[in-house]
């Protein structure tokens, strides 16, 4: 009974936390971008503008929820729901701290990969259902980009799995007690970071929405809370990717002095900050560059990493 209550508490608290953090993230990101670009960012609503995300939510809710007459209605409605659901489900396996977390799957990592792969359907469907040439182009780009980057995203994590000897994320965290995997798996970390950003469609890999060439790409036709779902999906995606990076490479909740939960949050926040810094500083590549980078640089690098790790594991029998 207490097991069930504990799980439900976990589910509800984590869900609320993730949602509010994603919402807050939209404000944090803008403030951080402001800081790095020598300006203020949103600072009008509430103290330091912290209520900006509330204002945004009100605005989104109050907007006309418009479905274009030329759109494929069913898919059009489905698409934003898919992204929100898949990213949230992906968060289910994140081991926040000992005793905190929704589920503890022994194939947690595979589940995460599966969920993040499902996310692409949302983008492709959204682009397709909008029946708008820009949206469709955005959808195409998303499909190609995700397909390409997913390949080495999965592979980049295999080194970690080899070292930890498990797909269970909690096992992976505990396997890092001595040394965080970011040291032995530095190549894996780099490739996973790149793939993660691409999966989250964050700058510099936001080609599916590329507002200056595709007028917001796959969500051109979306308005109101359906747009809001895409928006939240993106931020939840950032949180998930950051949390995964922390779990897989930075020892999860491990750390001295502070309680494990704090460590986890701290590490995740730093990674999120890093993502925002990437957005603030790097320009968007050309599409062919993106693809070439994925297939010609990142994939070989991942395979090389896998080879080395495999060899080391084999040689030392770790």
């Amino acid at each position: 009974m207490s097991e069930l209550a504990h799980t439900w508490t976990n589910v509800v608290v984590i869900l609320i936390f993730v949602f509010s953090f994603a919402a807050l993230l939209s404000w944090i990101e803008r403030r951080l971008l402001g800081v790095w670009q020598d300006r203020y960012g949103p600072n009008r609503v509430g103290p330091f503008g912290v209520l900006q995300s509330v204002a945004d939510a009100i605005k989104l809710l109050a907007k006309e929820d418009w479905i274009p007459p030329f759109a494929d209605k069913a898919l059009f409605v489905l698409a934003p729901a898919v992204i929100a659901i898949t990213t949230l489900l992906a968060f289910a396996v994140v081991p926040v701290a000992p005793g905190i977390g929704v589920v503890d799957l022994n194939i947690g990592l595979l589940f995460f990969l599966a969920m993040s792969s499902l996310g692409v359907y949302s983008i492709v469907l959204g682009g397709w259902a909008s029946n708008n040439k820009y949206s469709l182009l955005g959808g195409f780009r998303a499909a190609a980009q995700m397909l390409s980057y997913e390949v080495f995203m999965g592979l980049s994590l295999m080194g970690v799995v080899m070292l930890a000897g498990s797909f269970n994320l909690r096992d992976i965290v505990t396997a890092q007690e001595g040394l965080w995997f970011c040291i032995p798996q530095i190549l894996g970390l780099i490739t996973f970071t790149v793939a993660g950003i691409a999966e989250a469609r964050r700058l510099p890999f936001d080609l599916p929405e590329a507002e200056n060439e595709l007028v917001a790409g796959f969500h051109t036709e979306y308005s109101s809370m359906k747009f809001g779902l895409f928006f939240i999906g993106e931020y939840v995606g950032i949180i998930v990717i950051s949390a995964m990076m922390v779990t897989l490479f930075f020892g999860g909740w491990l750390g001295p002095l502070l309680p494990p939960l704090m460590w986890f949050l701290l590490k995740t926040s730093i990674i999120i900050g890093f993502f925002i810094l990437l957005r603030a500083s790097l320009p968007r590549p050309r599409y062919d560059q993106l693809m070439a980078y994925g297939w010609k640089v990142m994939l070989p690098l991942t395979l090389f990493n896998l080879l080395i790790t495999g060899a080391i594991v084999l040689a030392w029998g770790l």
Binding site: W36, D38, R39, S281
Partner: protein
Amino acid sequence: MWNALKTMWTIFLHMFHRPVTVQYPDEKPYIPPRWRGRIILSRDPDGEERCVACYLCAAACPVDCIALQATEDEHGRRYPEFFRINFSRCIFCGYCEEACPTDAIQLTSDFEMGEYDRKNLVYEKEDLLIDGPGKYPDYNFYRVAGLAITGEGGKNKGEAENEAPPVDLHHLLP
């Protein structure tokens, strides 16, 4: 890759710079003297409308947002019957001021003219005309033009600046 990292580092360092944003409207920004803001029509030192409705501002306007109609009063003084600027189209380029041969049309430092209704951005002559001479306190077009103006404060031929008295056609001596 190195470049990308360098960029990120540079951007990161900006965290320690002061924001350049001016917190308008809490803080009033500095307006340079030649700022191109709301357009006005000025009057000459005698208090008469400076605009002689020559249409040059309208012709110079790249967005064609100035429309006027010339007319003449009983003293032979040309003035605009109506003068309309559609500020919802105006791009504040200042070409009208450059084109104006009588210094009538001037751009001011006022830029706070936001409206909720585009209609309110259509300014007629009575909205544009001010009571003073604006940036050029001394200029009076009719003091240099060759046109004769009757009535009070008018001038006959030969009475403008640098004008010889009118030729007497019946005078035969060299």
